[in-house]
Each structure stands twice: as C-alpha cells, then as structure tokens.
Amino acid sequence: MIDTTINFALLLFLAATAFSILRRTTLFSVVMLSGVFSFVSALLLVHLDAVDVAFTEAAVGAGISTVLMLSTLALTARHEAPASRSRALPLIVVFLTGLALIYGTLDMPHFGDPSAPVHTHVAPRYITATATEIGIPNIVTAVLASYRGFDTLGETTVIFTAGIGVLLLLAGTIREPTGLRITAMDHHLVLRVVTKVLIGPILLFALYVQFHGDYGPGGGFQAGVIFAAAFIIYALVFGLEAARRAVPGRAVRWILAAGVLMYGGVGVVSFFFGKNYLDYSALGATATAGQHLGILLVEFGVGMTVSAVMVSTYYAFAGQNRPIGDEEW
C-alpha cells in the first residue's frame, strides 16, 4: 500500500513537472525543471530498486546535463520564441501516440507480477548463475559488463561519437586562451573555498564508484560523470583557463579515445587465448578471476571515455562564452 502511494505520488510529480516545462517560455526555468524531472525519475528508480539506473539518472540527468544546458543558454537566448507554425497537427500526432501507448498497456503483465515473461525467461539465469559464472555480487554489473558487455561497448562508442561530434562542430571555434585573465568569480571567496574543499572528496567518491561497481551500485558511467563534475566545478569557479592548465584539451582528447580502445582492446585479448570476442574468462587463471579482471578493465575504459567526453563538451561550450559578469549571477 505504502509502496503504491509513493509510486503514485512520484509519477504525479513527474507529470506535473512535465506540464510545467511545456507551459513555460523562460528557458532558465525550463532547464531547472528538467533537472527536477530527472531527479524525481531517479527517486522513482530508487524506489523500484533500480539503484544503478537511478545513480546514472541523478548524475547525468540532474547533474551534468543541467550544467551543459545552462552553458548553452549563456550562448543563446533566455526566452523561447513563440511558435511560428500551427500546433494542431503535432498535437493530434502526439495525442494518437499517447492513445496507442495506453492501448498497449491493456495486455501488459501486471506490475511486479513474478510470472511475467521478463522474470521467467532470461532473468533467472542472471540471478542464479552470476555468483558462479562471474563471481561478483552486483548482478546489474554482470549483465551490463559481461553477459551483454558488447552492448556496453556500443554505448561507450555512442558517447565517444558524441564527443567526436562536439570536437568537430564546436571545438574548432574555441578561442585560444588569452593568458592571464581575471575570472568573474575571483572575489567570490566563499565559492572558491568551498569548491577547493569539495573537489578532493568528489574525486575520491568517483574513484570509489568506479572501482566498487561490481560490489555495489556504480560503475564506469556514473564514475565518469562524477569525475568530470569535479573538473567542471573547478572550471566554473576558477575559470576555463585554469582548468585547461590542469587538464589540457589535447589530453582530454587522448583519454576520450583511449577509453574506447581499452574496452575494445580487452575483447581483442580474448582472441589471443582462442576465445570469443569479449570472453573475459581468458584473462585470469580461473574463469571467474578472468571475468572479474575483465569487468574492472572495461568499466575503467567506460569511465575514461565518459569523463573525457563530459569535460571536452564543457570545454567546447564554455570556450565559446564571454566571461559571465557578476550581475548575471
């Protein structure tokens, strides 16, 4: 009963946020509300016991993408232009799509039904055999990095592609660092001190999430985003040039590619032991030792690419910016 109530309340909250996003024309509040939307989704996912997904949603949806959207707003306008075309046809299409989706719910298995196909076909093996076949406690990591590890290589490549796209389309227009320049936040003493205090723990937490992913919720995607967040906070407060001095754009570009290479390369190693691509059991003395090492390595590759893409995207966006004046904060 209490579970249903919480789910219902959260879903209601999501719907209200979505409507509010639709109605607003001030883009600043739209961005903030979409952060709220992601955060409520994360709560809902926590409540559904999908903590790994919730973690990613909170880090990416509520965290990084809000920062990137705000950087975009700094480059463009703050108000939505009134729609120039009629909205009747799109509204009808959306309405029909919604009706189709509702119609599709009619034969769905009931919520939480243990006899539903998703719980009876492939899932039982993941649940019962992960301990013996992979040897790690977190089943989500086992599915993500080993059973369906090739999908994750693909997803890492998707992120890599996005990073290459940003470099191709935006980075070419970055202004060269102008040497010593006073950043806008130089006299925000509290922000500077708090940031300095925070960066260490954030990096440490990222490392924990990265390397503890096979035991608890976490892994390369979440860790990469948290790691990048530390650098982005630093760049926000101390200026882009200072961040670039710490991690130059070229180094970020190398890590970007190295992460995918690491993931793909682990798979290639399997070839040399006469195993199929991405069969990690080749990597260790025993099959589970190999799986363990393989998962650790590919997750590290994911973390490298994800954090590098986030940082280079921020560099590319912020590099277009005029410095943010005090009165705008």
Binding site: G104, T120, H121, V122, Y147, D151, T157, L168, N276, Y277
Partner: protein
C-alpha cells in the same frame, strides 16, 4: 582461427580503428587508415557472403554467452548481402573523398572527419550484422549520431547544413525512440531480445495488444529512419547540404540499413503469420510506396539544385523498395533486395558525378552545369550513365530492379501497379533530362575556365558506372543472392 572470428572482425576492425584514427593529427594519415580498414572490412564481407551462400547461416556468440542470455551475431544471405553493399560503398567513397573533403571541410576538422566516417561505417554494419534487437538499436545510435555530425560538416560550403543536420537529428531521434519503445514492449511480453528467440516466443501472441502496439512503434520508428513517405522530410536537406562524399556514402548505405531492419522485423521477428502484417503491407505500405514514387519524383522535377533533386529521387526510389516489400512474395522481396544493391550503385555514381561538379564550380545547380558536356565530358558522361540506370533503361541495373518489380506486381495479379511503375519511371526521364539538356545543349557562361575533375574522383565514379552496366547485363549473381535472401525472409525452402 581468423575465419572463425570473421563475423566479429567485420565490426570490431572499424570500431577500434575509429578511436585509433582520433590520434592522427594529419588528415592524410587518418585517410590512409580509414581506407585500409574499409577495404579490409569489404574483404571480410565478401568472405562472409561466400560462406553463408555455401553453408547457410553463421552464428557467433559475443563473450561466448549462449543466446538469448548473451548477444548473438547471426549472419545469413539477407544481412551478408547488405553488409557487402555497405562495406563496398564505404570503400569506394574513400578514394573519392580525399580531394572532395579537403575542399569542402575546414582543414582543422579533416583528420577527425575520418574518425567520424569510420564510426558511421561501423555503426551501419553493426546494426545489420546482429541477431539481437537491442544491439541493433545501440549500433543504430552510433551510425545516426555520426551521420548527423557528418551532415553538419557541410557548413563550410553552406551554413544551411547545420539546420539540415538539426532537423535530421530531431527526426532521427524520434525514429530511434519509437524503435526502442517497440523493443521495450516486445521485451515486456516475451522476456527476450534475441531476434530468433523473439520470433519463436511471439508465436501465439497474435492477439496480444501490447505486442500489437510494439509492432506499430517498430514499423513507425524504422519507417522514419528509412524515409518512408511521408516521413521523408528530413532527407532532402540532409542529402543536399552534406559534404559531397558524405552524401554519396549515406545515400548509398544509411537507408539501406534501415530497410534491412524493416525486413528483419516484419518477416523474421513478427513473421508472415502475424495477423496485422498483411493489413499493414496492403493498406499502409502499398499506398505510401506509390505516393512516394509519384509525389517525390514530381517534386524532383522542380528542383534547381541537383543534389536536392537526386535526394527527392531517392525518396521515390525508396518507394520502389517499399513497394517490393508490400507484395510479401519471393519475387517482390527479391526486387527489394536487388534494388538495395542496384540503387546504391546508381545513386553512388550520380552523387559522385555531382560532387565532382561541386568541386569545380562550388555548386551543382541546373545553372552551373550549363555547357559542362564539353568542359567536364567524363563527369557528365558518368552522370548520363547513372541517370539512364536510374530511369531503368535496359543493360543497366535500374532495368533489373524494375523488371523484378513489374514481375512481382503481375504475379500478384495487381497489373495496375505495373503500369504505375512504368509511368513513374517516365517522370525520372524528365528530371534527368533537365540536367542533360543544360549540360549538352546549352553554352557555358562567358569566362568560365572549368577543368575536368581529378582522376581520384573520376576513377571511383566510373568504377560505379561500370558496375551499373556490368550488373545490368549479367544479373545472375545479384539475383541469385537476392533470391536466396527473399526465400530466407519468407521461410520458403530454397
């Protein structure tokens, strides 16, 4: 050992080469790497096709996890043929691309351009080779993202490339989202993502309303990706403003991969017994295909820019492809499969010729081709040959495609459709003739000093023209493979 790993090497070779090429600082090096990788990929796809024709299907288990728990690569005549088309065209474009890209893209972007090209290449191949529905989605994302970027790189020549790429991104993302919603829904009712397993477990779910909605979402999603009329609105601008080499590549491959996925889901996953399949084909695919053939061809007549004219012609040609599907017969699907190959050859040759004109004149409009018959004789002759193939003149591949389509419509007893196929081809005569008339019958404008295109562009162009004629005269090989593919799709014994 290598022979055993060929299925995964088909994807992993370009997929790993892409981040490697991101380390190249000079465009030349990245280009060499891309060329070697694509050529190797092409060789692998030839070997795979030969093997599946001899031995039947090949299965490869990623990470050695048995399907449906792990991801399976499953190659038969259907996807081996499409792999061959994509890797072949991807390789043909590269020698052509070097000069064209150096001219059309900002110098500091040229090295990373090839990284993006390899990603697009690997993505398209990955979406075709896999036997896993979700894996197909992941690789669709790789190829789509890379394609949006490649299209946007046309911005140096024309800033409108940016808005074209943005429209494509929005429409493409809607298509991919519909596709993944559909996959989510079938997963909910079957508990599996493996295509063969899905096909087995969807038996008996004909009346399931969740599966029905999944079917609708998958067909609509892929329909957007393959520019099924009237969801084609992203295509003309994307083709028109992309760098010329990119236009050749995506026109010859991207929609082909989407058509393949459509075939796979309609016939392998849902199957011919699925109750709404026949209704969808008769009441949705047939009219939309006919509308595409006529409406898009008619719009093509009124285009001033030749790339955009050919883009509308591509929408019409996709109409023929979908028309073949709508017959749901061995002859019809043979027509679709063979047209995938033939259309890649004809549009490849045409867009290559147009790209050469863009290189020399900065644009390819009806105006700028005036008198080119004399100043760029080889380029224009290639355009004429490609145009004849597009119209469907005998001794070209276009004729073979039309032949199978007409045969399929007569076989199904729908002779009016056969008449419409011939009529729509006549519209093609009009728009191709407009270019030929300007090029050969009008005088070049005063003071133009135009040269013929460089050999590095002419040779691939003429290579494709040669293929248009060769496979137009001797269609034994292509029709054998296409026929085998069609029988596999319809579960008919060979």
């Amino acid at each position: 050992m290598i022979a055993y790993h060929l299925p995964i090497l088909q994807i992993v070779v370009p997929l790993i080469a892409a981040p490697l090429s991101a380390f190249c600082r000079r465009a030349g090096m990245a280009w060499y790497l891309a060329l070697i990788i694509c050529a190797a990929s092409f060789a692998i796809s030839v070997a795979l096709l030969v093997r599946v024709l001899d031995e039947g299907h090949i299965s490869y288990l990623l990470g050695n996890w048995a399907a449906p728990w792990g991801i399976e690569y499953r190659i038969d005549a259907v996807n081996a043929f499409v792999l061959l088309i994509i890797s072949g065209m991807g390789t043909m474009v590269l020698p052509y691309a070097r000069v064209s890209i150096a001219d059309e893209i900002e110098p500091h972007n040229q090295a990373l351009f090839y990284t993006c090209y390899l990603l697009c290449f690997a993505g398209l191949l990955g979406m075709v080779i896999t036997g896993d529905a979700f894996n197909a989605f992941v690789f669709m994302e790789i190829s789509s993202l890379a394609t949006y970027v490649l299209v946007a790189l046309g911005a140096k020549r024309d800033r409108r490339a940016l808005s074209a790429a943005f429209t494509y991104l929005v429409m493409g993302t809607i298509g991919a989202t519909f596709f993944v919603i559909g996959i989510g829904l079938v997963y909910m009712v079957t508990g599996t993502l493996n295509m063969a397993d899905l096909a087995a477990r969807l038996q008996g779910l004909e009346q399931n309303r969740t599966a029905l909605v999944a079917f609708a979402f998958i067909v609509t999603g892929i329909g957007l990706k393959l520019a099924l009329f009237p969801m084609h609105l992203w295509l003309p601008n994307a083709y028109a403003f992309a760098p010329s080499a990119v236009t050749v590549f995506i026109a010859a491959t991207a929609t082909k991969a989407a058509v393949y996925l459509m075939l796979r889901f309609l016939f392998t996953v849902f199957g011919t017994d699925y109750n709404v399949l026949g209704l969808t084909l008769t009441y949705m695919f047939t009219p939309l295909a006919l509308a595409a053939m006529f409406a898009a061809s008619t719009v093509a007549i009124f285009q001033f820019e030749i790339k955009r004219m050919l883009a509308y012609s591509s929408v019409a040609q996709l109409g023929y492809t979908v028309l073949g599907i709508s017959f749901a017969s061995v002859t019809g699907l043979t027509a679709t499969m063979i047209h995938l190959f033939n259309h890649a050859l004809m549009k490849g040759a045409l867009f290559m010729a147009v790209g050469a004109i863009v290189l020399r004149h900065g644009a390819a409009t009806i105006d700028s081709v005036r008198g080119l018959g004399r100043t760029m004789p080889w380029t224009m002759a290639a355009f004429v040959a490609g145009g004849l193939s597009l119209i469907g003149v005998p001794l070209t591949v276009g004729f073979i495609s039309k032949w199978y389509l007409v045969a399929a419509s007569l076989e199904s007893g729908r002779w009016p459709i056969a008449v419409l196929i011939v009529l729509s081809s006549l519209i093609g005569v009009i728009y191709i003739w407009r270019v030929i008339e300007a090029a050969y019958l009008e005088k070049p404008p005063e003071g133009r000093t135009a040269r013929e295109a460089p050999l590095s562009m002419l040779i691939p162009t003429w290579g494709l023209v040669g293929a248009n004629i060769y496979f137009g005269i001797d269609a034994e090989l292509t029709s054998r493979v296409a026929g085998a593919a069609a029988r596999l799709l319809l579960w008919v014994a060979p």
